[in-house]
C-alpha cells in the first residue's frame, strides 16, 4: 500500500438542499430542516473517499441522507453544490457532477454500478434476466450477441441464478433473486465501484445471508470497491472495512468499523450501537 494511494471515489462538500435556504439556516436547523425558511438540507457538507478494494459502510437512520448521497452519485438527483471524482473516469481529474448528460450516461454504464433497495428501480421487470444484463452491455457500446449471451450467462452463474432461468422475466423471481439479478446487471461492464443502497432490506434472513455472501464474494474475487448503505449495523459489521455514520444529512462520525462498534464517540452512534441485538 502506498501512502499516496488514490481513492476510487472522492466526494467533496456535497450539499443537497430542497428549498432556497436563508441566512438563518446555519443556526436554525431542527434535524435537517430550517425552522425559519423550511428548507430541507438532505445532504449537508458530505465529504468522503473510497479506496481500491475496500467496502465503505454508511449507516444512519431513515432521513439521515444516505440515499440522497447514493442518488447524487448515480445522477438520480442533482446536487446543490459539491464535487465528485472517480479514478476510473478521466483519471479522477473531472468533477462528474459537472460533465455533460452523455458523459454521465457513459459513467453510469462503464464506471459505476448501482443496486437499489427496490429492484423495480434497477430492473426492467418484464424483460428477461439476460436482456436486463444485455441492455447494460449494449449501453456501453457492444453489439455482439454471442458475447452478450456469454456474459449474461457468466454473471447469472456468479450470482447463483440458474442459467435455465435466464430467459425468464424478473417479475417471476423472488425478492432475493431479483436483488441478485440487479447485482449481476450492475457488474455487467466491470465497474470500478459498486453502489449498494439497502440491498438486503426487506429480505428474509436466509435470503439476506445469500445476498451478503454474494457481496463478500464480489469484493474478494473482483477486488471491486463498494459503497454500502445500510441502516442495519449487523450488515455493516459483516462487510465494511470502514464506516461513516450519518445523521440529519451530516457525517457525525467515521472510523474503522470495529472501532465505531466498540468505541463509538458520538451520542447518536452510542445509542445506535447499544441498540444492536
Amino acid at each position: 500500500m502506498s501512502r499516496n494511494e488514490k481513492p476510487v471515489l472522492q466526494v467533496k462538500n456535497l450539499f443537497v438542499r430542497y428549498g432556497e435556504g436563508c441566512p438563518e439556516c446555519a443556526t436554525h436547523l431542527e434535524k435537517n430542516r430550517c425552522t425559519v425558511c423550511g428548507t430541507v438540507w438532505a445532504a449537508n457538507d458530505i465529504s468522503l473517499e473510497v479506496f481500491p478494494g475496500e467496502v465503505l459502510g454508511i449507516v444512519g437512520e431513515s432521513g439521515s441522507g444516505k440515499s440522497t448521497l447514493m442518488q447524487s452519485l448515480y445522477f438520480d438527483i442533482e446536487p446543490t453544490s459539491g464535487q465528485a471524482y472517480l479514478n476510473g473516469y478521466k483519471d479522477g481529474e473531472a468533477d462528474i457532477w459537472q460533465v455533460s448528460a452523455a458523459e454521465k450516461r457513459d459513467i453510469k454504464n462503464n464506471v459505476m454500478g448501482m443496486v437499489y433497495q427496490n429492484p423495480i428501480r434497477g430492473l426492467r421487470m418484464n424483460y428477461s434476466a439476460a436482456s436486463n444484463i444485455a441492455e447494460k452491455i449494449i449501453a456501453a457500446g457492444s453489439r455482439n450477441a454471442g458475447q452478450m449471451t456469454a456474459r449474461a450467462e457468466e454473471l447469472l452463474q456468479a450470482v447463483e441464478i440458474l442459467t435455465s432461468r435466464m430467459g425468464e422475466a424478473p417479475k417471476n423471481f423472488s425478492g432475493g433473486m431479483q436483488q441478485r439479478v440487479q447485482i449481476s446487471k450492475a457488474l455487467a461492464n466491470n465497474p470500478s465501484i459498486l453502489l449498494l443502497d439497502e440491498v438486503t432490506t426487506g429480505l428474509d434472513l436466509s435470503v439476506q445471508a445469500k445476498v451478503l455472501d454474494l457481496i463478500r464474494k464480489i469484493k474478494n474475487q473482483y477486488g471491486i470497491s463498494i459503497l454500502l448503505v445500510s441502516h442495519d449495523l449487523a450488515v455493516i459489521r459483516m462487510l465494511a472495512d470502514r464506516t461513516i455514520v450519518m445523521l440529519d444529512g451530516k457525517i457525525i462520525e467515521s472510523g474503522l468499523t470495529d472501532q465505531i462498534l466498540e468505541d463509538p464517540q458520538h451520542a447518536y452512534t452510542q445509542q445506535l450501537v447499544h441498540s444492536l441485538l
Partner: protein, 231 residues
C-alpha cells in the same frame, strides 16, 4: 535492541453520553516492547488490560498519549494517529490480535476463515489452503470440523480457530487478549509451544493472561495493571 513498540503516556477514558459519565480506563501507561520480546499483562478484571491492547489495535481510540510502532511498511508510525487505511494494512500484514471471542463472517467454514487471513495478504489460493490446513491440524481442530460453520463450535474449538486465524500469518506484533481462557491443559501446551516458536522467529507479543503458570517460560516481563496504571 530495536523497540518494535513504544507506548508513551497512554490514557483512555470512555465518555457515555446517555449517562453523562466519564469512565477512566487506563492512565499514563508507558512501556516499550523489543523485537522478539514477550510482555505479559496481569491484573484484576476491569483494571484496563484489554483497553491497552485495543488501543494498540485501534479498536479503541486513545484519549491521549502515543503508540509508536516500528512498521516494516511505513517505518515509525503513531498508531493513535495513523490513517484508517494504514491501520487496515498493518492489521492484514503486520499486527495480529487474538481475543477470546470468535468473529467470523456468517456462512464461512473454519478452513475458509483461516484461509481468508492469508488471501487478504495476497497469498495464492493453493498455498493459503495448504497453510490453513497445517495450522488447523497443529491446533488439533478435528478434521471433520474444518468444512463446517463454526457457530456450533465449543469455546475451546473457537479459541483454537481464532489462534489459527491469527498465527497463520506469523505477524510481527501479536496482541493476545486472554488466548488461553477456556482451553484445556493439552491445548494450552500447544499454544505455549506455538508462542515460543513465534518468539524464536522474532514475533513480538503482548499477552493478557490470568493463568500465571502459563506465563512461566514464555514472558520476558510481566506487568501488573491496577486501576489503569502499571504497578
Amino acid at each position: 535492541m530495536m523497540h518494535i513498540l513504544e507506548i508513551k503516556d497512554l490514557t483512555k477514558n470512555f465518555y457515555l453520553h446517555e449517562a453523562n459519565r466519564e469512565i477512566k480506563s487506563c492512565k499514563n501507561v508507558s512501556f516499550t516492547l523489543d523485537e522478539g520480546q514477550f510482555i505479559g499483562i496481569v491484573g484484576l478484571s476491569g483494571a484496563g488490560k484489554s483497553t491497552i491492547l485495543k488501543c494498540i489495535n485501534r479498536s479503541y481510540l486513545a484519549t491521549s498519549g502515543e503508540i509508536i510502532y516500528n512498521s516494516q511498511a511505513f517505518g515509525k508510525i503513531d498508531l493513535t494517529k495513523a490513517s484508517e487505511r494504514e491501520i487496515l494494512y498493518l492489521r492484514k500484514h503486520e499486527i495480529g490480535y487474538v481475543s477470546q471471542f470468535l468473529n467470523v463472517m456468517p456462512r464461512t467454514t473454519a478452513k475458509e476463515h483461516v484461509m481468508n487471513a492469508l488471501l487478504e495478504t495476497g497469498e495464492a489460493m493453493s498455498s493459503a489452503k495448504k497453510r490453513a490446513e497445517e495450522m488447523l491440524a497443529y491446533f488439533k481442530l478435528p478434521e471433520e470440523l474444518w468444512d463446517i460453520y463454526p457457530n456450533t463450535f465449543s469455546g475451546g474449538e473457537r479459541l483454537r480457530l481464532n489462534l489459527a486465524h491469527t498465527m497463520v500469518k506469523t505477524p510481527r506484533l501479536m496482541l493476545l487478549d486472554e488466548p488461553t481462557a477456556s482451553l484445556d491443559n493439552k491445548t494450552k501446551v500447544l499454544v505455549k509451544d506455538m508462542l515460543i516458536k513465534l518468539k524464536d522467529q522474532k514475533t513480538s507479543m503482548i499477552g493478557i493472561f490470568h493463568d500465571l503458570e502459563f506465563m512461566d517460560g514464555v514472558c520476558d516481563k510481566v506487568f501488573n495493571i491496577t486501576e489503569g496504571r502499571i504497578l
